[in-house]
Symmetry: C2
């Protein structure tokens, strides 16, 4: 038996008990005739004591041990004279009677502490050591807890967990698929699922009524900062429901998670149409932890000789409360911020509403005090506030202003990680027109149903159709999204047509779904949550990499196992494929 207790378990009531512990050496401290070792395992840290006086040989042996050695000790729990109130085991210690080294350790390439001295690359290469650090361990424990709670909650709501296949069929719509050559079917390929979308819809056709799965999905995308080629979804679908049923069910799940994990009671989630979100926040996932709604002053501002404004389709701004005192330097920073190539604004107009009631703006040349006063009224600004204004084509200016708003939110400390502000964004457009390819794309996916009242626009003005589609947004992050699906094969075929599929293509790719819809498909809809992102949010982490045990880097590589890698020519032969020379 390697241990009678874990390193996080012993308390004052265990005093005098003989115990065996096993774990890793976190720290060794020598004080004259005494040596103290902090012994660590997943459950905590217990202090071991060695004493030159009572057992010099053992104490000498202990002094030769190193960090991260795995040892097993036997001893009798005693009360500490010098208690440590910060540790659950801080009232006791163990004078060691016998010691066995279970395994040695070389000196780790970085310190196994909450704040490590190792760089990103090094910690990725030795991920198994990085995972020993408390912050990562806490993240994985949180992830475990959330996964259990999600399943418990949905199980209680009569959802069934069904495993859908990982080896499926490649469909060109959407992002790039990872593919898997089939040896038994030469020159044919499986694809890894970008989501179990079609299978969960088929399960509704099969009558399973409420489905869920916490499931790996795959996208062969060029990886931006916080994407992973494999990621995890909480994937759900329900039959005989309307949008309202789905929003309520998953609002319930979300509230349950916040309550049980963070002990936070979330209020009823507000709802906002996509159109309002864009108009007021320039963003389909507004961060509602703070206000600063956009204020449009296009008409108000166009009455003077300021050509920039007069040429602009759209002029709007935000009111930064209490920022009238911003220095020239701070205002320059903000101007540079909006002019960054990722944001691309031409410039920034500001107007200070000074505490004394006067105004000072970057466009004083063109506007009188009385003009600015009118702006202030529109902005609902008070003395001491700062108005920040952008102008230009509406489509471009909205997202620019959104970035500025978020930046001001951050500067003003209004984006507290411990405050959570959820929101349902609803009524997304069904379709997006792509100027480059001159065709419509499904905004959500081709199976999303149009709103009944907009269906008449299908032939005449498809771009104006609103969908039964919704996103759950928390703190400006899209945590989940979904839609009510089309369940009528005629309408689905019409949709494929609008999306530019020939009837043959639609049949080849989605024939089985069309066919399934012919045999009594129920009304249905669903939602999928980005589980990695959801966990990261509750963990207070900005990057999903910190909540994934073995993530890949931005080139899609696992540097720990050095994957992907070359495979043996025999494997290629068996798969009937060869490597193309000079890959472009």
């Amino acid at each position: 038996m390697y241990r009678t207790h874990t390193c996080g378990e012993l308390r004052i009531e265990h005093v005098n008990q003989e115990v065996t512990l096993s774990g890793w050496i976190q720290r060794i401290r020598n004080f004259g005739g005494m040596t103290f070792i902090d012994l660590r395992d997943r459950y905590g840290i217990t202090q071991l004591v060695f004493d030159m006086e009572s057992n010099a040989a053992l104490c000498e042996q202990a002094r030769k041990l190193g960090r991260e050695y795995v040892i097993q000790i036997l001893g009798q729990v005693q009360e500490r004279s010098n208690k440590n109130a910060n540790m659950p085991t801080g009232e006791v210690e163990i004078p060691v009677k016998s010691l066995a080294v279970l395994n040695k350790s070389e000196v780790p390439p970085f310190t196994i502490e909450d704040e490590s001295d190792g760089g990103d690359e090094l910690r990725m290469r030795y991920r198994y050591l990085d995972l020993r650090r408390n912050p990562l361990k806490e993240n994985l424990l949180l992830r475990h807890r959330m996964a259990q709670e999600v399943r418990k909650y949905l199980d209680n709501q009569a959802f069934i967990e069904v495993e859908t296949p990982v080896l499926i069929r490649s469909t060109p719509e959407g992002a790039r698929d990872f593919v898997v050559p089939s040896r038994m079917n030469p020159h044919q390929f499986y694809a890894l699922p970008q989501s179990p979308q079609l299978f969960k819809q088929l399960l509704m056709v099969s009558g399973y009524d409420r489905y869920f799965q916490i499931v790996k999905c795959f996208r062969d995308e060029d990886l931006r900062a916080d994407r992973q080629p494999e990621f995890t979804q909480i994937d759900c679908e329900m039959a005989f429901v309307e949008q309202e049923d789905i929003l309520n069910t998953f609002e319930g799940l979300t509230r349950h998670l916040f309550k049980i994990i963070k002990n936070i009671d979330l209020q009823e989630f507000p709802r906002m149409t996509f159109a309002d979100a864009m108009e007021n926040y320039g963003n389909d996932k507004p961060d509602l932890r703070f206000g600063m709604k956009f204020v449009e002053i296009t008409n108000l501002a166009k009455q003077k000789d300021f050509v920039v404004f007069n040429d602009a389709e759209y002029i709007a701004g935000i009111c930064a409360s209490g920022c009238a005192g911003y220095t020239r330097k701070e205002l320059d920073e903000l101007t540079k911020f909006v002019q960054r190539s990722q944001i691309g604004a031409k410039g920034l107009v500001y107007a200070r509403y000074n505490e004394d009631g006067t105004f000072k703006s970057s466009v004083d040349k063109f506007y009188e005090e009385s003009d600015l006063k009118k702006w202030a009224e529109a902005f609902d600004a008070k003395p001491g506030d700062l108005m920040l204004i952008l102008a230009g084509p509406k489509k471009k200016t909205l997202p620019q202003l959104s970035e500025l708003r978020l930046e001001m939110g951050s500067r003003l400390g209004l984006r507290d990680k411990n405050v959570f502000s959820p929101l349902w964004v609803v009524d997304f457009p069904l379709l997006e027109f792509d100027d480059e390819t001159q065709r419509f794309y499904a905004m959500h996916h081709p199976f999303t149903s149009p709103k009944k009242e907009d269906i008449h626009l299908l032939e005449t003005n498809p771009g104006a159709i609103r969908a039964n589609a919704y996103d759950l947004v928390i703190n400006g992050v899209e945590v989940g999204g979904g839609s009510i699906r089309i369940f009528d094969d005629k309408l689905q075929q019409q949709m494929f047509g609008i999306l530019g599929f020939s009837p043959e293509d639609a049949e080849a790719q989605f024939g089985f779904l069309m066919s399934a819809f012919k045999y009594g498909a129920p009304p249905h809809g669903g939602v999928a949550f980005g589980f990695d992102r959801f966990v990261a949010m509750l963990a207070g982490n900005d990057t999903i990499r910190d909540v994934i045990a073995f993530p890949k880097n931005n080139s899609g590589r696992d540097v720990m196992i050095d994957s992907p890698s070359a495979i043996h020519p025999d494997q290629l032969n068996e798969l009937a494929i060869s490597l193309k020379k000079n890959p472009s």
Copy 2:
């Protein structure tokens, strides 16, 4: 709102309540002026009533509906005059006030009944319809329940669920990998995991102590009757444990599942060494629902002129209780059974111990009554029993006799699907010698630890080394298996040597594990259960296909979605691979 209640919910206490139901039409029956419809959903069936007298138009409409139409109805629950005690809703029915067709259905290609008229191929093509049938639905519900219970149990035992990556690195050891070409790293490939083995061991090195995951695994094997290219494991690992800890933990899990799912209290699981299992049952996964242990009579039978026996290395048999009355025809059948090419015995010797105390055997020419009497004593046979005997090289005869034993068990009705007989088989050999390649292979995998007391044989007689490896066998089916792992990098390197890895190969393939072992690896071990098989066993199904929502056929194809399939040349180009002409 599509429904106020499900089709399985209404009882006598709902009488007079107005309800809305939605579901599928299971059956329509017309009786004179009345029409009855059985409305089905996942939760049950409710009887709807239409009456020509009270509403002729509606009744006419109902008569035009077809099987599997999806309808929504409104009506007031009433007590049935003709109650059906076999249905939970059998005391009530709903006279329909209004009816809406939510979706039509073509006539399904096979009947949606417990016993369908559709063949395998057809039902696979229309899997979404097959899944509507009760037996499959019950299987998937059972699978769901088991998955939840496994997680709950392990969570309560402080196990952490950790997701390990699906895109990993190809390792030639073991079965064939499925591989995934990397677009971002041209000419390099990921592999899909055959198991999370290395990752779960790394998690132990990371100090996670108790890990589990219900996880998809992949093997590109030529599919035998009951294999799937993707399958699901309950995968577990523990640190600071000995074999005994693991056996007890997972015996606990197994008993919990049987109790909660089947309400069966399993007794403490017996344990049997691999050597004993082979000697007594010719099989490393003996079915212990019945006896018929092998009885060796090599010495006893070699004393006469029967050259077949005299030339045989090994002569043994089983005693089939009460079968002395087997006819010539039955005995011929058994002889043919053991002579089938899959079994390959030369012949079968029988000896009847007649009720009157006389003997009759197929070798009466060579043996006296008194010889057979001695055999009977060895077999512990009684009058009325039948002795069935095989002879030949021991290595070949043992599995032949095992097949015969299982056949007799089936014939005698001793293999009841509702009886469960679990067993731990322990002390597996560490290595298997392969005559063809003239080298040793790991019987379990290269990370399995040898028994301490056998380590001295590593250099001298590796084939005789026993491993800390164990299988959980229930009713002759290997449900799970695992081992205590090597956690010392020197011993692991020695093992790789014995398995024919050059130090460079070992480093290239498992370097990260070797490296991890240098930084304080704890003693650890684990187990993996074949979840599909485990579910099939509790479902009383012989094939795992019946407990998988969307299985593949024996060619690894999903005939419903027609996968695998050709992909677009652009996809091949992006991946820098091409199809080889004339695949062999």
